[in-house]
């Protein structure tokens, strides 16, 4: 499996706080990589460097490089808008726009200049189908997205993210606000999506990481302690700190 993302000697500071320390990591293409670790360990910070969401936080300073398909995304000639089209994101709380279901999904493609109604219809249907939401909403596409349940809203957000056909999908604790059934649906969905997208997820639920990811990265105090195939990391971790964390001895 080829690596799509290459992070080298990445250091990130929020003012004086050293949030990521010498992080180097390769992330494979069309696979699910999970970031785990206690709160404040840097996992969400690293996730947000992948589409430069940290740029918006004042006082953030970055050293090192993050390459996607060989291009340094912190290079001078990189347009952040174009980057975020390639790297979509789904957040912890479902955040649909207060618009119709249809308009939520069509938002990205329209933003990128698509006006053709038939083409938009097709994208909306394909994205909703990929997000396993189509059958539940196909007769109410004009209804407000806010009328959907939390689990449906989150799947809508995934449909919205994939409507612009990104290469990478970032998920920041995307199921932590959902009930177990909705969580299961999202997990199944994510596993289907990995055939088309490179998925990087942050999760507080270690068993979720164990269930659905192919690789798992364990963070502690801004450093990567261990990165390995998920099955290996959860069965025979090499570092005692990983063992202690996944066994619930701290964190």
């Amino acid at each position: 499996m080829d690596n799509l993302i290459r992070i080298q000697k990445l250091n990130l500071y929020y003012d004086r706080f050293h949030a990521l320390k010498d992080v180097s990591l390769d992330i494979p293409e069309k696979a699910i990589t999970a970031f785990i670790g206690p709160s404040g360990c840097g996992k969400s910070t690293l996730l947000r460097t992948l589409n430069r969401m940290n740029d918006m936080i004042p006082g953030t300073r970055i050293e090192g490089s993050v390459q996607i398909a060989g291009t340094d995304i912190y290079g001078d000639d990189v347009e952040v808008e174009a980057l975020r089209k390639r790297v979509g994101m789904v957040f912890q709380q479902p955040n649909p726009f207060p618009k119709s279901i249809y308009d939520n999904v069509a938002y990205g493609p329209r933003l990128h200049g698509m006006k053709n109604k038939a083409a938009l219809d097709e994208i909306v249907e394909r994205s909703l189908r990929q997000a396993v939401l189509w059958d539940e909403v196909k007769d109410f596409l004009k209804r407000s997205a806010l009328s959907l349940s939390g689990g449906q809203q989150q799947r809508l957000c995934i449909a919205r993210a994939i409507a612009v056909q990104p290469e990478i999908l970032l998920m920041d604790e995307a199921t932590s606000a959902l009930d177990p059934i909705s969580t299961l649906k999202i997990e199944e969905l994510v596993q289907q999506l990995k055939d088309s997208y490179t998925i990087v997820m942050v999760t507080h639920n270690m068993h979720q990481a164990a269930r659905i990811s192919g690789r798992t990265v364990f963070f502690l105090n801004g450093e990567i302690v261990e990165a390995d195939d998920t099955q290996k990391l959860f069965s025979t971790p090499q570092d005692p700190r990983t063992e202690d964390y996944i066994s619930g001895r701290f964190g």
């Binding site: 270690m206 068993h207 164990a210 959860f234 069965s235 025979t236 971790p237 063992e243 996944i246 066994s247 619930g248 001895r249």
Partner: protein, 219 residues
């Protein structure tokens, strides 16, 4: 973490159950060989009667282990502790059954005299009792060196077993009237040899618990 404390206590309960099962097997094997040497069928019957305790302990191991898997969703070494407890308890249960098979030979020989003094059987059983003790100890202390050392003794057991078989075959040919008893004694040798194999399995489980990899100690 309170939850972790209870979990650790339950893992310790499993460990203690296996220790007790090991002691039970060691005792049953010692007694069954003593009973055979003395052709003491009363003693042999007492061993058979106590087997139910071993089965109950095995069930307890299954029950605690399954409950921990469901409620604690253990990973890494915690999970191996439980997998290993299942495996070792089933090895010990089989060893207990084999000790009973030896005791049943004694009850079938009731009223007879031994055709010859037992030499290799006591030697084998002495070695196997040591293997049982050391295999359990290697698990309890998570001592892989002891597991490997113990497994080496299995070669000597196999050697004694084959020596004993040859002797008994020769004896059967020379003394056809002793065929039935000689056959039963070869079976005893076979049972003891099987117990040694289960002890080797326990040593493998001990290594797996520590390293996450299961070696083949039978080679």
């Amino acid at each position: 973490m309170i939850q972790r404390k209870e979990f650790d206590q339950n893992l310790e309960d499993l460990r203690q159950l296996l220790r007790q099962m090991g002691e039970h097997v060691e005792h049953a094997l010692t007694e069954s060989i003593d009973a055979l040497q003395a052709l003491d069928s009363a003693k042999a019957k007492a061993i058979v009667a106590r087997d139910v305790e071993l089965n109950q302990m095995e069930e307890q191991v299954m029950e605690i282990g399954s409950r921990l898997i469901v409620t604690q969703q253990p990973v890494a070494k915690d999970l191996r502790r439980i997998i290993v407890a299942f495996k070792i308890s089933s090895d010990l249960e089989r060893m207990g059954d084999l000790a009973i098979d030896i005791a049943k030979v004694t009850t079938r020989l009731e009223g007879q005299k031994l055709i010859k003094p037992l030499i290799d059987i006591p030697k084998m059983s002495e070695l196997v009792i040591l293997m049982v003790r050391e295999s359990l100890q290697s698990y309890l202390d998570e001592n892989t060196d002891l597991a490997y050392k113990m497994a080496k003794d299995d070669d000597e057991v196999d050697h004694l077993y084959s020596q004993m078989i040859h002797e008994l075959y020769a004896f059967m040919i020379a003394n056809p009237e002793s065929l039935q008893q000689a056959m039963l004694l070869t079976l005893v040798g076979r049972y003891i040899e099987r117990i040694a194999d289960h002890a080797t399995n326990i040593g493998e489980s001990a290594v797996y618990l520590v390293t996450g990899h299961r070696p083949d100690l039978n080679q």
